[in-house]
Symmetry: D3
Subunit: 229 residues, 6 copies
Amino acid sequence: MSVVITNPPRVGRKLAAAFTRFGVATVHEAQGRVGLLASYLRPIYPGAKIAGSAVTVSLPAADNWMLHVVVEQCQAGDVVVVAPTSPCDTGYFGELLACSLAARGVLGLVIEAGVRDLAALTRMRFPVWSKAISAQGTAKETLGSVNVPIVCAGQSIRTGDLILADDDGVVVVPRLTAEAVLRQSEGREAKEAQTRARLRAGELGLDIYGMREKLAQRGLVYRAAEVEG
Amino acid sequence: MSVVITNPPRVGRKLAAAFTRFGVATVHEAQGRVGLLASYLRPIYPGAKIAGSAVTVSLPAADNWMLHVVVEQCQAGDVVVVAPTSPCDTGYFGELLACSLAARGVLGLVIEAGVRDLAALTRMRFPVWSKAISAQGTAKETLGSVNVPIVCAGQSIRTGDLILADDDGVVVVPRLTAEAVLRQSEGREAKEAQTRARLRAGELGLDIYGMREKLAQRGLVYRAAEVEG
Amino acid sequence: MSVVITNPPRVGRKLAAAFTRFGVATVHEAQGRVGLLASYLRPIYPGAKIAGSAVTVSLPAADNWMLHVVVEQCQAGDVVVVAPTSPCDTGYFGELLACSLAARGVLGLVIEAGVRDLAALTRMRFPVWSKAISAQGTAKETLGSVNVPIVCAGQSIRTGDLILADDDGVVVVPRLTAEAVLRQSEGREAKEAQTRARLRAGELGLDIYGMREKLAQRGLVYRAAEVEG
Amino acid sequence: MSVVITNPPRVGRKLAAAFTRFGVATVHEAQGRVGLLASYLRPIYPGAKIAGSAVTVSLPAADNWMLHVVVEQCQAGDVVVVAPTSPCDTGYFGELLACSLAARGVLGLVIEAGVRDLAALTRMRFPVWSKAISAQGTAKETLGSVNVPIVCAGQSIRTGDLILADDDGVVVVPRLTAEAVLRQSEGREAKEAQTRARLRAGELGLDIYGMREKLAQRGLVYRAAEVEG
Amino acid sequence: MSVVITNPPRVGRKLAAAFTRFGVATVHEAQGRVGLLASYLRPIYPGAKIAGSAVTVSLPAADNWMLHVVVEQCQAGDVVVVAPTSPCDTGYFGELLACSLAARGVLGLVIEAGVRDLAALTRMRFPVWSKAISAQGTAKETLGSVNVPIVCAGQSIRTGDLILADDDGVVVVPRLTAEAVLRQSEGREAKEAQTRARLRAGELGLDIYGMREKLAQRGLVYRAAEVEG
Amino acid sequence: MSVVITNPPRVGRKLAAAFTRFGVATVHEAQGRVGLLASYLRPIYPGAKIAGSAVTVSLPAADNWMLHVVVEQCQAGDVVVVAPTSPCDTGYFGELLACSLAARGVLGLVIEAGVRDLAALTRMRFPVWSKAISAQGTAKETLGSVNVPIVCAGQSIRTGDLILADDDGVVVVPRLTAEAVLRQSEGREAKEAQTRARLRAGELGLDIYGMREKLAQRGLVYRAAEVEG
């Protein structure tokens, strides 16, 4: 059955925005190393970073009709997350849909399929994380669903979950744990900032993390190089 | 037999140049969704766009002798299109050949194989759409042909066809239909410009395209989200 | 056995630095077309070029403990080269380790696995050639070795070998032949500079390289295009 | 947290066994085209077909410790379904673990990673659907979980769900809908059996499915081939 | 425009059948190394070999409606060759369509997309060369064309061309040159049969082909291994 | 320089043959998890297993001239191991060369490139582990070397090393350690035989390997499933 769920729960905008201080890798660690989308999702241009509330779309192969439907369900601070029901690299999304989403304040798109109009999207600074780049268009014949749970790039995603995306990839944080994960990320980042300063000053991780004894116990041996003739 | 066809027909320079106003996706749509080269052809740097007359090269795996031959057959406004007779990712093309082609006014290269000297090509702004990047060089032992019909990245290409390439990929338009496709592209682009303005102003595609009734007929259901505890 | 070889031989810093005048493709040619690492190693940002002395690391899948160990073995002008003992795309390396290596004057990293913190690494201009980009972290449980011979991306590499990396990829030059290969590269480059000037001026490679006779002997035929109706 | 859930719900054995009359494609259709695992999961030998109750395992990259833990949780009619938390092609599973699972009546294994000992597994007729074949072994250092919900090859799977696997791939049917899907499959298969008989007898699908009118409406044209000289 | 070309020219049945004495590699060589389809087309079971007259189908991504249309255009000795207009790995073809084609005497299928019902197709001995195996089904919504020229797996194919397929892959021979290529294949095979006998008897190719002198001229050196301690 | 090293050292025939009692996975473990060739090398038919002395060939892309040269250097019990100097999937090897190698008692071929004539090779039971299957032929224009050290599928291989290949892949054992590795394999296999018997009898690995305490220490928790409504 094809259904559009309206007025779904959303992670708070302020809470979401707070995540942009951290990288995907940091949040993934803070969350206990779960929720990372498959690494074949790549940004269409370098340097973008977004954090917002997922609006999910499940749609058929090579048919982007539901992308026209989802626009109306979006509000400022949302991130549209799209998964086709069978693998497909066709170009589902381009400049026109980006204009439409941008007009509603959508932050960006995550799609396990193809996109096109890269030059225009880059000029508009509308960021997309996609599996493929393809000028090949789609049909508008078959229904799908909006705001139902989906699996995108190997992760379960529910509408209202927090999506954080940067040059490293995309991570999903469940809505109900987002606040706790934010605090974990802050703690982690604070600790890393200190470590970073010490490492930049030339201290060794071997000493900062106290690794030398454990390495020796496990049997690591140091041996001077033999002189070659 | 190895043959170089001289003085082939060419799509007109002015006609070709007119295509640079449009993206590959637009022209592909305007042409009825045919002629798109496989999406594994990617530009070596972002932001390039060229439109010119194809000069075709068919050559053996890992042998670029014919690239030295093709230079003499090129004139200003041409795009060299190269397909090896068996799949090969070797670096067929680099800075020296680019200097030679640029000296004749060639606009760029499309090659279903590898290229090298990326830093120099980027500095020169000589755009290439290739399947691979590889510093591995080639031999100059075996002949091929110039200006014969080839299949490159899954599309049949004849010398004199129009090649349009941008960040989305590469599309071929047969020489004899190029003028008609240009007019189709203009019409399409004019219509899209209007739609773009309306979408930017916040109108919905659902209304602009009149989709609501058809969606309902096909059985799309809207349902408010249930409140979770 | 897990071992760290200390004070290994190194290619001289001045000798290594001299290689940055040449591209990977030129040095690969000058060396007789050996030593090129597999083309799936790609730079994380365009435009970087480094030449330094290899410090090798062999480590287990999804475990980056040895990267903390290797830092202490590095000095200015080194390039760290890492190969896991089984294929793994996990993110072994990020901002903190980059700070630590940069503090010792390490020039960059070559790794047949994944990296993360791309935005930070790009900002720091710490170049990495990697097989994957992944925010997925690693364990610190299992030992490996430092400064033992490794096979990385299809090439045998020994500590102290010269590593040259640019937008085209990565090439290894054995320490003992580095000086000879440098001279070959200089000779090759000088010759190419002349050829480049002549090609830019519009001379043909067919004439510069004297290819016309050999092409004719092999049977290349020139034929004017037939006029289509 | 690492947890082993004991005594999970299971789809009934008789119900599961009834699915072996149908192919993965039929059940996938009957279920409304959801639940198909990614097609990179391939059987290690042709001709196997199993249907049983999922016992799920989530484990780290390159570490198969939890496979030793899961054995004790299995009973006759189970299918073990394994997903690493980061992509990994290492050989997690071989002859010894297969002996252990077979001794408990486990029907087979679905794993989004690598397996080894193919000759022995084929001889034993212990079927495996895997993403890779690799003799590379794993560690036994890090915990994971058993019988928690996992995402395997792009699908959400819960312990007790029905897993059907054959030469076409793997499909998951949620436990609570398995009976309904079985009935749908029976209906579909009965209808297909009739159609199959008619098609074998030479009737055309165009007539059986009544497609001719719709094709004409959409504009399909029939035209005799022109005679070539 | 969507069109079905009826009563196309066909390569003669007897002529086609004569090709089954030769392998794809032999015919590819005899034809001058052209016409080989991309090697990602693989047979669904080992040991099949067919030679027949191409009936071509061009169809949209994830839509197999035209496969129901093509059946009526087929006769005994045909090989159906299918290319989607955009890349798609969905399962376009299964047991029912195979029953229908087999009832008309079609020899097999070549498809640059996915197939399903592998177990049934193998049991029926209906051979398929495909790019993917997938239980995912398709729509029947959008038209395509039958018996128009297509590009399949990188080769131009016209209805009535000879298709030869075996464990090595698929080769196309243009209808009008099929007789000449058959004779070339016979000549080549006769020569190879003699060579094969001599090689089996232990004669060396170096001598049979008279290679020793040319190798020496090119600079090949023989040197005894040095004794290691 | 192109060189053929004659009369190289070889691992003893009896010693090599003794390895066929073990699988590639077992020997890889016994050797300390080194020496495994990349898993993209796959056997052309299932069920083959060989163990012999490596005769190495380094050759150019798409040129198999050196395969004609290597035949003369082979003797009974050898395994020919081939690596192109740049990546290439062309069909270097087919029935004729297989007849020639078989006539000298060569056991099989390992090649990081393509092969053809699969049907004939399967019929002859001449086993090949290759990276690709392709009917595309090669040139005989450019020299390479025989019995020099090569890197094949990511491993350094020297002439006379032991090569063991089966359905799991290919492992190399250095000639001088082959006897020690054989003994390690025997020990390992004997131990595994006992474990296998106990596992088949239903004993758990958890008990045989004494894992329960360590799992608890690391924090593994067992918890009964909650009853769903």
